[in-house]
Amino acid sequence: MSEVPEPTHRRRAHTSGRDLERYAGLFAERTTVMRSSAMRDLMAITARPEVISLAGGLPDTSTFPPQSFAAQMTRIAQESAAKALQYGPTEGFEETKDCILEVMGAEGMLPDPDDIIVTTGGQQAIDLVCKTLVDPGDVVICEAPTYPGAVPVFCSYQADVTQVECDEDGMRIDLLEKLLGELRREGRRPKFIYSVPSFQNPAGVTLSLERRRRLVELAREQEILVVEDNPYGLLRYSGEPMPPLYQLDGGDFVIYLGTFSKILSPGIRLGWAVAPPPVMEKIVLGKQAADLCTSTLTQYFVREYFAERRWQHYIDDLVELYRTRRDVMLEALRTHFPAEATWTEPEGGLFIWATLPDYIDTNDLLAKALRADVAFVPGQGAYVDGRGTHSMRLNFSGVNEDEIREGVRRIGKVIAEQVELYGTLTGEQRLPEPVEEPEPNVLPFRKAEEA
């Protein structure tokens, strides 16, 4: 065997200013809108062990039994090692699709397995949909606020993103209709409407049944695609189940995106998309170009896991756990947040969206909060136009009850200080301390007047 010389340095050679200029000259146009954010730098601090982070979007994977994981992986090693270590079909294994059919069936959907593609997480599904449908300058409509992780995807395909306000019943469909009318007059056809209808990330709100029906109707009337992103649908803690848009529409104008991340594990990077055959054909080609196939190993894991027939019990356990955590957070908000703050009361999912008086910038508040060893996500990332600076996203699934109480207390304290300071600066009398007794009539989202 020939000798391979030892590499002498573990890091790349340094980049000089001139190099940067040289590379910058090669960058594609789309990179000008792909930005790293200062928030990411600040988030480096949230990793400190003393910081209570309500900033994550993490499911609690500590609840997954390690013995069960070990048994499934052992079985794969013993019975299917060669196959599990091999490439797989671009669309995903039929067995994986069977598992997906079970999950979708639990919410009343029954798609044709041929309409399904297994993706590397739900995030890739968003990317592939954009890759298939969006040319630079095309109109994409989404909620305001929208899933912060979708914004960079839309931007990297240079979409012209327009956001439609939400209230406590989800996206304002009356405003959407108005927008569609305006676009039609301008001769512009939106490529799709992106929505997280159930327990939205970040707002926590759920699209009402009436609005769901109207949205699907609009899509049919105007032949516009709706991309329904439904990662949390099965994580409902109160209220009645709501039919997914896909079920209401039957799959003609709704592209459905699902994921195992929130009901099993985000680490296995397994999601899926369901689309009408002509669209699916292009998505498959896009997927092939992107990564050939989704991890075979983790698809085998899901197959083994579903074979145990315990997956719904595990979701039941998660629902119990997260319901308690949600209630603890809502209670803590009532106790520790000042009267001027409002927040949503989600019936499921992982997030609560709180809105503060408009003189408080949550980006700056985060700096103060980090000094008090607590973190949240400032609202700005959920908008494409710089709005959202008075709101924050709070996660209740990834931390335990004591941490939720203490985290919310710390945030409440820094807000109260800012409220008091502002009162002093403007001479207005404001409540210096948060209210002792929780008021029952705390407004969730400001209910918008129907236009």
């Binding site: 340094h14 990179t31 730098d41 400190r48």
Partner: protein, 310 residues
């Protein structure tokens, strides 16, 4: 030589500092030094005592690493270190102190007033806001006194926007500066030892001038180095920057930020430990002067080990 690279820490600029530190470590390795990377935490003194480095390269930004705290410790331990000494760092970090020193040296800096929270909370300083707004005019700039990278810096275009801007600035520090806005070209002069490096001009391509995000990203701000200045402008800018550097007591290196207005340069502030990342201004200026990053790092080390430095 055994070089401890101090980086990270708990400041809001931890992320930038880790990038500066990694790049410095890489250069030091290439130069053949023994590198001891330290993400600064409660064991800093213990590690320095145990490891006995010949010199410490301070690649920290913001509170703790750039405000004289770490420098004070290094002075006590007798470990030579890069960049300005503890007193100069403290002066640069605090915009009120820095502006006082600049003003006392007879150098032009935009008019300002400084307040701490107590003034508002206990002494009714809000009632004086109208008067100082009259003096400074609009728009005015509101900044936390100690803070870096434009964090918490806001424009107020009308009197109504001042309280909100103050609330933001007070999120970072108990003291804030209200400063007259001066219009002009945004320039930075890095000084190495006693030598001013070529002037860098920051041209913002989009958005607000004071924007934290824009500073660390390729594509949003274009940096021109050397800046296109007339010989007279260049001399005025460089002399003003060097005078500021001396007035603040800086040694080793520092970066002076200023605005070149119609009447000449206005000194804004000095950064005791400017960034050393891929997109930072000091390395760009050094490169324009013909110094590679390795040469820059070596020169900074030499300055730290020259007895007269601190």
């Amino acid at each position: 030589m055994k070089v401890a690279v101090l980086k990270g820490g708990r400041s809001l600029e931890r992320g930038v500092s880790l990038r500066s530190g990694a790049r410095v470590e890489d250069a030091l390795e290439r130069l053949g030094h023994e590198v001891l990377p330290i993400d600064v935490g409660s064991d800093l003194v213990k590690r320095l005592v145990a490891e006995q480095p010949d010199v410490a390269f301070v690649a920290m930004h913001g509170a703790g690493g750039e405000d004289g705290t770490v420098q004070e410790l290094l002075e006590i331990l007798g470990v030579p270190f890069t960049g300005p000494g503890a007193a100069a760092c403290a002066r640069c970090m605090d915009k009120v102190q820095a502006k006082d020193a600049i003003d006392e040296a007879g150098l032009p800096t935009p008019d300002w007033f400084a307040f701490n929270q107590t003034a508002f909370r206990e002494f009714g300083a809000a009632d004086a806001l109208g008067r100082l707004e009259e003096t400074l005019g609009f728009p005015l700039v509101v900044k936390p006194s100690r803070g870096g990278s434009s964090l918490g810096v806001k424009f107020a275009r009308t009197p109504g926007e001042v309280p909100q801007a103050l609330v933001s600035a007070f999120s970072y520090d108990d003291r804030v500066v209200l400063e007259r806005f001066v219009d002009g070209r945004e320039l930075a002069v890095s000084i190495l030892g006693d030598e001013p490096l070529p002037v860098v001009e920051a041209i913002l391509l989009e958005g607000d001038r004071y924007d934290f995000e824009a500073r660390y990203e390729i594509g949003r701000t274009r940096f021109v180095c050397p800046a296109e200045l007339s010989a007279e402008e260049e001399r005025a800018v460089t002399e003003a920057a060097l005078a500021t550097y001396r007035a603040l007591g800086c040694t080793g290196f520092a970066r002076v930020d200023l605005i070149l207005g119609a009447e000449g340069p206005w000194l804004l502030e000095a950064n005791a430990i400017p960034g050393l990342t891929d997109t930072s201004l000091l390395p760009q200026a050094a490169e324009a002067a013909g110094l590679s990053f390795e040469q820059l790092v070596e020169r900074i080390l030499d300055l730290a080990l020259t007895p007269a430095t601190h």
